[in-house]
């Protein structure tokens, strides 16, 4: 079987490896496609639905991060309909939490904020839910503000798949879903946390942050991310 596939993205011919996802090809060709739950090196879950694309003119949308390329596929990454859905997804993220950019530690370094600017989300008609969410600042080095969490579960995956600690997981369900450390106990009392801080570095918003840092120091230190993918493959082979 051929190890290469050719497909069309937005009308342009591109080639891809057989086991590539559509998203990988898109990124390789510098085509803009928003993502929030996806991060290179961690398993793809297809949860944020921002990377939905149209395939072969079918109205049924597929998430690019979990869909493998196929020979002769025709992918459309951008049109009015997709833009509308993506804007609505971002609006939903803004109204389900309490996101106030002006007072946020991640102001200017937030993936949610960047995408909102890029996609032109400057207001919403949706209903603000103003949930009553708490902050766990018990840990001496890190803190989590649930008001800013968008449940992308990157922290859960990096902690389980890379660090192997599995301190984080998602608890509850539906609109009440939230991330927890261990048995929903305070972070400082966690018997499993290794204090590696990877969760903080992959968090796309200001939900997970390092304490006593000023805005401007919030740039994420992702030096370990290029290695994540290889590390994950090593882990996988070990199993």
């Amino acid at each position: 079987m051929s190890s290469v596939k050719t497909l069309k993205i937005n009308g342009k011919d591109v080639s891809a490896r057989t086991d590539d996802t559509i998203l990988q090809v898109i990124r390789e060709h510098d085509i803009f496609l928003p993502t929030l739950c996806h991060i290179e090196g961690l398993s793809a879950v297809g949860a944020c639905r921002l990377c939905l694309v149209e395939i072969n003119g079918s109205s049924k949308l597929r998430s690019a991060c979990v869909t493998q390329v196929e020979e002769g596929m025709e992918v459309v990454t951008d049109n009015e309909r997709l833009q509308k859905y993506r804007r609505m997804i971002l609006e939903m993220l803004f109204v389900e939490g309490n996101h106030v950019c002006a007072v946020c530690v991640a102001n200017g370094y937030c993936e949610l904020q960047w995408l909102a600017e890029r996609l032109g989300v400057d207001h919403t008609r949706l209903i603000y839910l103003h949930p009553d969410k708490h902050v766990d600042a018990s840990h001496y080095r890190y803190a989590i503000d649930h008001n800013r969490c968008i449940l992308c579960a990157r922290c859960v995956r990096v902690c389980g798949e890379i660090e192997g600690a599995h301190t984080w997981d998602v608890a509850g369900r539906g609109i009440n879903a939230h991330v927890v450390t261990d048995l929903n106990t305070s972070w400082d009392s966690s018997p499993t946390c290794t204090e590696c801080g990877k969760c903080v570095q992959v968090c796309p918003t200001g939900a997970l942050f390092k304490k006593s840092r000023a805005i401007g120091e919030m740039a994420k230190d992702n030096h370990f991310l290029p290695y994540l993918k290889t590390m994950r493959e090593v882990n996988k082979n070990d199993r």
Binding site: V45, A47, M92, I150, L151, R173, G174, I175, N176, A177
Partner: protein, 536 residues
């Protein structure tokens, strides 16, 4: 066990039953348990003892006979008399009348459309056999089809019979069962699984529960036949933890079948081995979605994952997995026994066989019915269901539960099949059918289902997690009569967005109750929009 032994056991059980001149069959399914059938059964047993009839009259606990609204139901054979709303005090009266005219004030006439319009395939043994005694099931033919496939047929032949029968999935979407079986059968992996989806979660639906309670062996046999056809040796029945009686009976049935060698190693002396494990759900509607169900069997949160890969390629622990629902499996044995042509003769061009519905709501006769596909909604509601009580008018019938829609009076003559219901914006679903009369507000019905979907959203993907609550909040404005035109526009946009972008079937179909009520009852929404008051 071999054929001879198998037939001997069945014959012995039939002989034992024939030794009794009179059989009093008391329904012991959940519906009748709720109305006190256990007291009736105890009283009947005591009464038979005290009259010294224990050698001529047998009291049997049997499965559901359909009329769950007027339980406890008791039938007397061979008189073929059916009694309803039986109290313990009535037992003496009933026994007095055996072999003579029936007790008039208790009798349920069987010449009514409720009985005449039905055709029982799946529920053929319900109400006849004792679901807790495998011998009575064997006497009625249980495991005969399994004997046939393991001794006379090759796996591809079995797949072909199912394909030719035209059987489609009874869990809602109507995917051709034979095609699914064929896909799993073709996978070359050595480990494969068969899963029975008994996580019936639609509010207002109790078909699968009734099947599992009334004839658990039918389900197990269907799974074993599927295992033989696709090359799996392990099966799981996933049942909601809330279905205590169904769980008890399935456990017992699995145990008895294992003891008899009808499940386990080298079934009927063949090389085919098949074991079944019971797994309990734990109160999550989303686990009816197949990828979520598999996550749950694996002991994880019931979060769905994107498909492909489909379970038939990569299912439980990555192995090819066949998932069908309870009613689908319950159709298998009769198809094998009677042939695909027999089954294909029932129903319509595209929808073959019968369908079990749980009929409830504002209708005179509430209960469990099995009808041939293609019957009209009118026949179901007006004839079998006996029309609307209290002189009210029929307004709509809701099918497909929280993923389905409401069908208004204008379409009452629509035949019940997969395609026709979909064309009307509803779905066959698993078989809940709730009737609404002119006193029901369709906006609040939509709100009810939306709130259900919101509660049951797993929270993994954003459109479903946040979209459902947004729609519920908007619908609250409508039910409070203070909505605006903008709210209506936004509601419709959300319907489109949530259905198009959600990850799994639950989210994609979550807006259906709103979409269908907007389609047929838009004026009710418009009436909920507050008039704009001019500021002075």
């Amino acid at each position: 066990m071999d054929r001879e032994e198998f037939e001997e056991i069945a014959q012995r059980s039939r002989d034992e039953a024939a030794a009794f001149a009179v059989h009093v069959n008391i329904c012991t399914s959940s519906g009748c348990v709720a109305s006190g059938c256990e007291h009736v059964k105890k009283q009947a047993e005591a009464e038979v003892q005290s009259r010294g009839l224990q050698h001529t009259c047998r009291i049997n606990g049997v499965g559901c006979q359909g009329l769950c609204g007027s339980g406890p139901i008791v039938s007397v054979q061979p008189d073929n008399v059916l009694y309803h709303k039986v109290k313990p005090d009535d037992v003496a009266d009933i026994l007095d009348h055996v072999g003579q005219a029936s007790v008039p004030h208790l009798e349920l006439r069987q010449d009514s459309p409720f009985f005449e319009r039905q055709q029982r395939v799946v529920l053929a043994n319900a109400g006849k056999i004792d679901p807790e005694e495998i011998e009575t099931a064997m006497a009625a033919g249980a495991y005969g089809a399994l004997l046939k496939v393991t001794t006379e047929m090759m796996p591809p032949e079995v797949c072909k019979v199912i394909t030719d029968s035209g059987l489609r999935g009874r869990g809602g979407a109507g995917y051709p069962t034979g095609l699914k079986w064929g896909t799993v059968a073709k996978a070359t992996n050595s480990t494969k699984f068969v899963v029975c989806n008994g996580d019936e979660g639609d509010p207002g639906a109790f078909m699968d529960r009734s099947i599992m309670e009334s004839d658990p062996h039918r389900v197990l046999e269907g799974m074993a036949i599927a295992g033989y056809a696709v090359g799996a040796s392990e099966g799981f029945v996933y049942v909601r933890a809330e279905y205590a009686l169904a769980i008890k009976r399935l456990k017992r049935a699995i145990h008895q079948a294992e003891k008899r060698g009808l499940l386990g190693k080298n079934i009927f002396g063949s090389t085919f081995s098949f074991s079944i494990e019971l797994r309990l759900g734990a109160g999550a509607f989303v686990c009816g979605e197949e990828t979520a169900l598999m996550a749950s069997i694996e002991g994880r949160r019931g979060n769905p994952r994107p498909r492909p890969p489909f379970p038939s390629e990569s299912g439980l622990w990555g192995h090819p997995t066949l998932i069908n629902n309870v009613e689908t499996f319950a159709n298998v044995a009769p198809i094998i026994t009677n042939g695909s042509a027999w089954f294909a003769n029932i129903g319509t061009e595209t929808s073959k066989g019968t369908k079990v519905f749980a009929l409830s709501g504002k209708v005179n006769r509430v209960g469990l019915i099995e009808v041939p596909m293609g019957i009209s909604l009118r026949e179901i509601v007006m004839e079998i269901g006996g029309g609307i009580p209290n002189g009210n008018q029929f307004k709509a019938v809701q099918t497909g539960g929280p993923s389905g829609g409401c069908i208004p009076a204008d379409y009452l003559d629509t035949p019940v099949d997969y395609e026709s219901l979909r064309k009307l914006g509803s779905i066959m679903g698993s078989g809940g059918m709730v009737v609404m009369d002119d006193t029901s507000s369709m906006v609040s019905v939509a709100h009810y289902f939306m709130a259900f979907n919101m509660d049951e959203s797993c929270g993994k993907c954003i459109p479903c997690r946040v979209g459902t609550i947004q729609m519920v909040e908007l619908l609250k404005r409508f039910t409070a009569q203070r909505a605006t035109h903008d709210d209506l526009v936004l509601l419709e946009e959300l319907c489109d967005m949530v259905s198009q972008t959600s990850l799994c079937g639950l989210g994609q179909s979550a807006p259906n109750p709103v979409i269908s009520t907007l389609r047929y009852f838009r004026d009710e929404y418009l009436r909920c929009i507050a008039p704009v008051t001019e500021s002075a």
